[in-house]
Structures are given as structure tokens and as C-alpha cells.
Amino acid sequence: MQNDRLIIAGREFTSRLFVGTGKYKDFAETQKAIEASGADVVTVAVRRVNITDRSKENLLDYIDPKKYTILPNTAGCYTVEDALRYARLARAAGVSDLIKLEVLGDERTLFPDTAGLIEAAKVLIKEGFIVLPYTNDDPIVAQKLVDIGCPAVMPLAAPIGSGLGIRNPYNLKIIMEMVKVPIVVDAGVGTASDAALAMELGADAVLMNTAIAGAQDPIAMAEAMKYAVYAGRLAYKAGRIPRKLYATASSPIEGMLQ
């Protein structure tokens, strides 16, 4: 697996685990968890600076943009206009042209508004952004996003933060077979086996936040996720045996006592 690098828009990544930075106790814990996860790509949100209490530290003092690829998101945006505004602000804040594009459709499910997503992606791609869209497990939408120029697509496994795991492995599999860009399974993972399953299905990477940050021991879970993603990738490359209904003996019958 030495040369098993993930390449998105010409950028090369060693780890196939992408992690979010929300919901941690403090920045020190965030930093430790990210380090334990071995992730290269780290998502962040763009928000107002707290101007009344300047003692609050900056997240990027803890997550070195030279060491990690910072992937700003448009989390919390429910309209195309808002998503465009946040994407442009993220770029103005000066990290890169990368954006994890979210256009949400509904507060309860946080499911993507895929029509809005495609519309916003078109505009941002025209403006030179590298758009990584958070989308549904809908193969047709995934293909449309690729057609308009997204260098990867990020379909959900289950609702954000739900921990329900891979709810629709068949759709994800179809997306992986249909779409010729890297697939990052984003959102819904609950524990290590979910991440391994996503990778065994053939995902190119997994993105998660709550599964790590919300665990009782986030740093231990971050490490578990690192191995799960790695093991899942190895198993995918190794090629699993077909499922059969009946047993096949693994020890020879020959040489048994009469």
C-alpha cells in the first residue's frame, strides 16, 4: 500500500480519512484527535470572530495549515446565496480555493438540497473554486456534479451526526461504479466498522466529525478510525471472497483417520 495515494484535483493525500473539527471540548483535544486520526484533510467552518472576547484562540494556531490541508465548509447554509457567500469568505480568509460545498435542504435531516448544490457548484467552479460537494446517495446527482466539474463527490452514508452507518450500500456502490472521480463517503458514520465498510465498498475516503468528537474518548476513537479506514482499504484492494449460503471446509479431508 506504499503507493496507494489518493489524488483529488492534483493534490496527493496519504490518509484516506478526512476529519471535521467541530464539537470538541477545546482546541487541544481537537489537535490531539486529529493527530491520532492520521488525517491529512481537516474541515473547518467560517464564522464571525468573537470581538468581545479576544482571548479566544484561533483554531489555525492548533491545526497548522502547512501540515494539513484545510478544507473550509459552507455548513449551516440553506440557500445558494448563503453558500456562495461563505465559500467566498472562506477563500478571502486565505487558505486555498478548496471548498466543501454544503447547501442544506432541511434542518431536521440536514439532507442536501441537491438542486441548490448543483447551482452553487456551477457558480463556484466558474470562479475557480475546487468544489467538493456534500451530496445525497443519489448516483444521478453525483454524475451531474462530476459533469459540471467537481473533482470528487462526497455522498452521505446517513444523516450528519446520526451515527447510523452505511444506510444504503447499494446506492453508494452504484455511485462508485458510475462516477469516475474519487468518492468520499461523508457523514453518518458511527463507529469503526462503519468506516471499514465504506472503504470495503470501494470508497476512496471517508469524512467524519461527530463519530470521533462525540465518542467518550475522542482520541482513542480517532485512532480506531485510522485503522478502520486503512483496514477497509486493504480489504477492498485484496478482494473479498464471494458470499455463499453453505460451508466450504478449509481443512483437507485427505489424511483423516479411517
Binding site: 473547518v44 457567500r85 451526526g161
Partner: protein, 86 residues
């Protein structure tokens, strides 16, 4: 006494010396200009303009930066409450 104007910064009213620039405001707030984005009256500013752009009465300034995120919980849009991850 220098003339004072009223502006809005991240949704809050604030007094500001007439003739001061966006760069002056950031220094006054002890905000490092690297890794922040500034929106002046809904227009995203180029970082190189911070020192040249004078603030005017009634200007609306939004100063944004990166916080922990990935899962959109406890998150509000600009103009819907101030947010900083603990």
C-alpha cells in the same frame, strides 16, 4: 477631540474615529489580519485594501475566521448570533 462615527461590527454598534481604516479597526480589536475575511457592506474585501479603505458612518463590517466545524450543529449564519467554538 477627533470626530466619532458609528459603525456596526459583527452585528454590534461601535464607535469609531472618523477617518480610520479597516486596518485600524482590526488593530484596535487585536485581530491578526492573516486568516480573517472582512466583508464591508456585504462586499468581500481584498486584504490589500484594509489599510486604504476608510470607514464611514453606518458601515457594516463583518469579520470572519475559521472555527471548528464539519458537522453543522450549534451553527448560525452571519447576522444570526455570534458563534465561537469552545
Amino acid at each position: 477631540m477627533a470626530e466619532v462615527i458609528q459603525i456596526q461590527v459583527n452585528g454590534e454598534q461601535r464607535d469609531c474615529r472618523a477617518g480610520s481604516t479597516v486596518g485600524d479597526l482590526l488593530r484596535e480589536l487585536a485581530i491578526k489580519t492573516e486568516r480573517v475575511a472582512v466583508e464591508l457592506n456585504l462586499e468581500i474585501m481584498d486584504r490589500t485594501d484594509f489599510e486604504h479603505r476608510n470607514l464611514k458612518e453606518g458601515d457594516r463590517v463583518e469579520i470572519l475566521s475559521f472555527i471548528g466545524g464539519g458537522a453543522p450543529m450549534d451553527i448560525h449564519g452571519i447576522g444570526r448570533g455570534s458563534v465561537h467554538a469552545e
